[in-house]
């Protein structure tokens, strides 16, 4: 599915949170969204998912404007894992993941064996099959994060959007999540704080004060100059002796007070 955002923006109480972003997501690519706190990453994700009212510009899914599509059809194509998700209901892990099937079910298509299998696969993909019977409330932050990702996978979307998916995860699950996401074969957009993780994306977009100031392959976009300008940090580029890949180490700029 080709996703095209044309001049999208959003204002809240007179302030532009996101302004005039143009973006085309090619089928199957992994796109990383980076930028400092409050630069509009989460809002941009919500805008592309069509979740915000009074949005400016338009988003096209395979050429169809998203604001004319029923919510159900959007949810069959786009899944969003938000940063904070919590419930007061006493749901089990399986209950929560089964919610991901919602856009595919109706009175005439009730939850069946096929849906059960999709849910099982989603649970296995993020390594939480053993937690299926546990209560949501009993889970740790990282486990909850993986339940949310499993719920999104059970939605069988063509575009998966993740808002800081590696938050709360231990290093093993961070790496296995990034490998999982890379091997899904679907378009993935994720907001990331770890710039070295962003180096593994096909392309990255850099957000600053609501605008996308740079977009392209990470090796071309992420540079010491951009890092000092956007993130106000100095960076030294190192080479991993294991596979010669580039990585950054950061330090506070001395003249920044």
């Amino acid at each position: 599915m080709r996703v095209e955002a044309q001049g999208i923006g959003w204002h809240a109480s007179g302030r532009g949170i996101v302004e005039g972003v143009d973006l085309v997501l090619e089928p199957g690519e992994t796109f990383g969204l980076i930028g400092p706190n409050g630069s509009g990453k989460s809002t941009l994700l919500r805008l592309i998912a069509g979740l915000l009212p009074r949005a400016e510009g338009q988003v096209l899914l395979d050429g169809r404007p998203i604001h004319r599509m029923p919510r159900r059809e959007i949810a069959q194509r786009i899944a969003l894992v938000a940063q904070h998700a919590d419930t007061t209901d006493t749901l089990s892990v399986r209950d929560a993941v089964e919610l991901g099937r919602t856009p595919w079910l109706s009175a005439f298509a009730p939850f069946g064996p096929e849906d059960r299998q999709i849910v099982d696969e989603a649970l296995a993909a993020v390594e939480i099959a053993h937690l299926a019977g546990q209560r949501w409330h009993s889970l740790s932050g990282g486990e909850r994060q993986r339940v949310q990702i499993a719920k999104a996978l059970a939605q069988k979307p063509r575009l998966l959007m993740l808002d800081e998916p590696t938050n709360h995860l231990d290093i093993h699950h961070q790496l296995s999540l990034l490998r999982l996401v890379g091997g899904l074969g679907m378009t993935v957009v994720m907001a990331l704080h770890d710039l070295n993780q962003a180096m593994g994306c096909d392309r990255v977009g850099v957000m600053q004060a609501g605008r996308m100031i740079a977009c392209g392959p990470p090796a071309e976009v992420i540079s010491p100059g951009l890092l000092s300008e956007t993130f106000r940090v100095g960076a030294s580029c190192l080479t991993d002796p294991r596979d010669q890949s580039l990585l950054y180490r950061f330090h506070i700029l001395e003249n920044d007070r």
């Binding site: 919500r46 998912a49 979740l51 029923p70 919510r71 159900r72 059809e73 959007i74 949810a75 069959q76 786009i78 899944a79 969003l80 938000a82 998700a85 919590d86 419930t87 007061t88 209901d89 006493t90 749901l91 089990s92 399986r94 209950d95 929560a96 919610l99 991901g100 919602t102 856009p103 079910l105 009175a107 009730p110 939850f111 069946g112 019977g133 409330h137 939605q155």
Partner: protein
């Protein structure tokens, strides 16, 4: 949570549950007609029903027949409809507002309905064109709109909703008292105060033909949206991301809740705690899925209110205690338990 493995097994389970539920409801209605100050044997009740419903030929005592057919049966049926509607209203509000304490009573919807009904009866608002039920509906809708707007202006959190509900309830209860003080004579005032606490004494057949269809329609509206209500577990935005047309579902369900509450309040007064306590009690048994929660809450609410009505008739010999007093006597301790349990979880 393990469901039945095959669709066939599921169909069987659903059929059994529905049959069991209907049987329980029937038993409760029978109990409501048999038990009273003058206990009438089941055979008499059976004979009256046979004559009235199927035209059977039995010699009936006209007084017994009158008590059963004109008094106890309609009263019990309205109690059932009312209990089901209030329990459903509480359940739906709790799911939509994402607050364990939401119910039409706490959010001011019942108070608004009372004000609307009193405005029509005492002040003659609407000049006889608007009935009591319509007046109650307008009052309830106004109250909910006001509470929702206030909650939103205060930041839209779940605690703000309850606080706004308290403000709304106080305002509309004050308006009701003001209307009564301004325009009602002493006798009217006494009648209305009794009605405000919840009272099924005046219920007759025309009330049944309003209460039962509204409860059934409300039940179906909720059941159709069972899956959408499940999707609200992680909040509104999550529901939207799962393909639920949030605004439409909210508008429709809140409309259904307002209608159910308004009709029940206009018939029997504002009965508290049913909408708050029943859904929580049912959740312990059925779990959080609405496909089970909705029918189970409706059934439990219906049976509970029939029982409460029986108790209200029997508690003091020769006197009817307002049913709202009975539900509050049971509901307040149950509510305390819910508060304590929620604290343990947090």
């Amino acid at each position: 949570m393990k469901g039945p493995a095959s669709p066939k097994g599921l169909a069987l389970t659903v059929t059994l549950c529905v049959a069991g539920g209907l049987a329980m409801l029937l038993l409760a209605v029978l109990a409501g007609t048999v038990i009273g100050e003058a206990p009438l044997p089941l055979t008499t009740v059976g004979e009256v029903l046979a004559v009235r419903l199927f035209g059977a030929a039995h010699a009936l005592d006209p007084i017994d027949a009158g008590i059963i057919w004109n008094y106890r049966l309609p009263r019990t049926l309205v109690a059932a409809a009312c209990g089901a509607a209030l329990a459903l209203s509480g359940l739906v509000l709790q799911s939509l507002v994402r607050n364990a304490l939401a119910d039409p009573y706490l959010l001011g919807v019942s108070a608004g309905a009372s004000t609307g009904a009193v405005a029509v009866t005492i002040l003659g608002v609407g000049g006889g064109v608007i009935g009591i039920s319509s007046g109650a509906f307008i009052g309830a809708a106004l109250a909910f709109a006001l509470v929702a707007a206030l909650a939103r202006a205060a930041g839209g959190g779940s605690a703000q909703m309850v606080l706004a509900g308290i403000a709304g309830s106080q305002l509309f209860n004050a308006l009701t008292s003001f209307f009564i003080a301004k325009s009602a004579n002493a006798e009217q005032a006494r009648g209305i105060m009794f009605w405000l606490l919840g009272n099924l004494s005046g219920v007759r057949w025309p009330d049944v033909s309003l209460a039962v269809p509204v409860a059934v329609a409300g039940f179906l509206a909720c059941l159709i949206h069972a899956r959408a209500l499940d999707a609200f577990s992680f909040g509104r935005e999550s529901a939207a991301a799962l393909g639920v047309p949030v605004r439409r579902v909210q508008l429709l369900l809140i409309g259904a809740v307002t209608l159910m509450t308004a009709v029940m309040v206009s018939l029997v007064g504002a009965i508290g705690f049913v909408g708050l306590v029943i859904p929580h009690a049912v959740r312990f048994v059925t779990g959080p899925r609405h496909f089970r929660l909705i029918p189970a809450s409706a059934l439990t609410g219906a049976v509970f209110l029939i029982a409460a009505d029986i108790v209200s008739r029997m508690l003091i010999a020769g006197q009817v205690v307002p049913i709202g007093v009975v539900t509050a006597l049971v509901g307040a301790p149950a509510f305390a338990l819910i508060l304590i349990r929620n604290r343990v979880q947090a």
